[in-house]
């Protein structure tokens, strides 16, 4: 069957998608909480104030979460899913855990989707933890030119991780297509 086409989230997605606590996978300030944050930028390097970022990740042990509760969070259950709209400066943040590797000897990553006004369909990417080569070889990172590889790897700051997303331009983020998407892209 042919997949239904995507369409942009438009400028008014704040009515429908954000919810209270959407970006707090764990309560901020908890001992093992990290902040994952960054900016979404357009082809001129201008911040995008109407983008929405979603993350989906394993817990700190590398276990994929199968528990509901991402919308009405109970403060104790880690569900692995979060959502954050960018602020007027194009900045987003999550309070989350550093994910463990889901397979031995593979660098852990957080799956990321990007939506925005002006973006006609969602984009997929990955935010790898810093120094992925220490954890092992990676079939994606190993095939990406060194000048673009960095766009997939978060950097560390005092509170956790920084991951900027460039929709276009010289530092354009590497976006991904999966086998069942083939033919979807021009």
């Amino acid at each position: 069957m042919s997949a239904s086409p995507g369409q942009t989230v438009g400028p008014f997605f704040h009515i429908g998608l954000p919810y209270a606590g959407d970006n707090e996978l764990v309560p901020p300030g908890r001992a093992d909480a990290i902040r994952l944050h960054g900016r979404v930028l357009d082809g001129d390097g201008v911040p995008v104030p109407d983008a929405l970022i979603e993350i989906w990740q394993a817990d700190s042990e590398g276990k994929v979460c199968r528990a509901p509760g991402s919308i009405r969070r109970d403060g104790w259950t880690f569900t692995g899913f979060g959502r954050a709209a960018t602020d007027p400066d194009g900045h987003y943040w999550f309070s989350t855990l550093e994910p463990g590797a889901t397979q031995p000897d593979r660098p852990p990553f957080i799956a990321v989707t990007v939506f925005a006004r002006g973006l006609l369909d969602r984009l997929f990417t990955r935010a790898y933890l810093p120094d992925p080569e220490v954890a092992g070889e990676d079939p994606l990172l190993d095939t990406i030119d060194s000048d673009r590889r960095g766009s997939l790897i978060a950097t560390r700051d005092e509170q956790g991780l920084v991951f900027d997303i460039h929709l276009q331009g010289p530092r354009e983020t590497v976006f991904l297509s999966f086998p069942k998407h083939r033919g979807v892209w021009a």
């Binding site: 239904s4 889901t102 973006l119 369909d121 033919g183």
Partner: protein, 248 residues
């Protein structure tokens, strides 16, 4: 110089020359806001791994049944034509996507969003916010009660109007199936003029975004019925029985 509908219609026509494509072109300058916001490099092909082979779980703890009725969120009844909107969410292999989250948002009957950025001088409706959620059932069915949204002007070009639509957000059984799209109404005269709708250059694929009137969904003396089915991309992991079980 002011961009007119004639200019945009010429660009839409030129966009057809690239051949029919089933998904929207990201590089589609007739939609002006896309110019600096689309990637210019081809997406990198990769096999999904780890979390990408699974999707977040949502359950009745997340979504109350009343959230599927957008007409009961305030003290009074919203203005406009009440409608029942229902359909099935299927994956690329035709399997129903069971117990998964569906989110919608929309303008009110006058074509105004309850959003600060919407300055269209049409009335806000104190009885309508325009946001709803539900979970699909075991056979992938969703169902909302809402009111028919109005078309509205936007500033892409002079005299630009969006066809009436409802925004939909969907999850599958693996994260690669994530979809956000818009559902339109049959026979809208604004279709040929709208660069967002026309960014899908395959006419058959555009039709997949249009609901059909369904008299079997129409309720006597209550609401008109519309049916809209949604097909996600294929799964990369053979779904397990536990995928169709209802979360606790």
């Amino acid at each position: 110089m002011t961009t007119t509908q004639a200019d945009i219609s010429r660009e839409i026509q030129a966009g057809q020359d690239g051949g029919p494509e089933h998904q929207p072109r990201l590089d589609y300058p007739a939609y002006r806001s896309s110019i600096l916001r689309h990637p210019t490099k081809a997406p990198h092909p990769v096999d999904p791994e780890g979390v990408e082979l699974w999707a977040p779980c949502f359950g009745h703890t997340d979504v109350a049944e009343a959230e599927a009725d957008l007409t009961i969120q305030h003290a009074g009844e919203p203005l406009g034509s009440r409608m029942t909107l229902s359909g099935r969410v299927l994956d690329g292999d035709g399997r129903p996507v069971a117990h998964q989250l569906v989110e919608i948002w929309q303008a009110n009957a006058s074509g105004r969003y309850a959003h600060l950025r919407d300055q269209h001088p049409a009335p806000l409706d104190p009885n309508f916010t325009g946001q709803g959620r539900c979970l699909t059932d075991a056979d992938g069915w969703y169902r909302f009660t809402t009111i028919q949204p109005g078309p509205y002007p936007w500033r892409n070009h002079l005299n630009a109007w969006r066809p009436a639509h409802i925004h939909f957000s969907l999850f599958g059984t693996d994260f690669t199936q994530r979809l956000v799209t818009q559902m339109y109404f049959p026979g809208d005269p604004l279709f040929p003029l709208d660069p967002i709708f026309q960014s899908v250059t395959d006419p058959k694929a555009r039709e997949a975004l249009i609901a059909t009137y369904d008299h079997d969904l129409t309720s006597p003396e209550f609401s008109l019925g519309y049916r809209w089915d949604i097909v996600l991309t294929g799964t990369h992991r053979t779904p397990l029985d536990t995928d169709t079980e209802e979360p606790a």
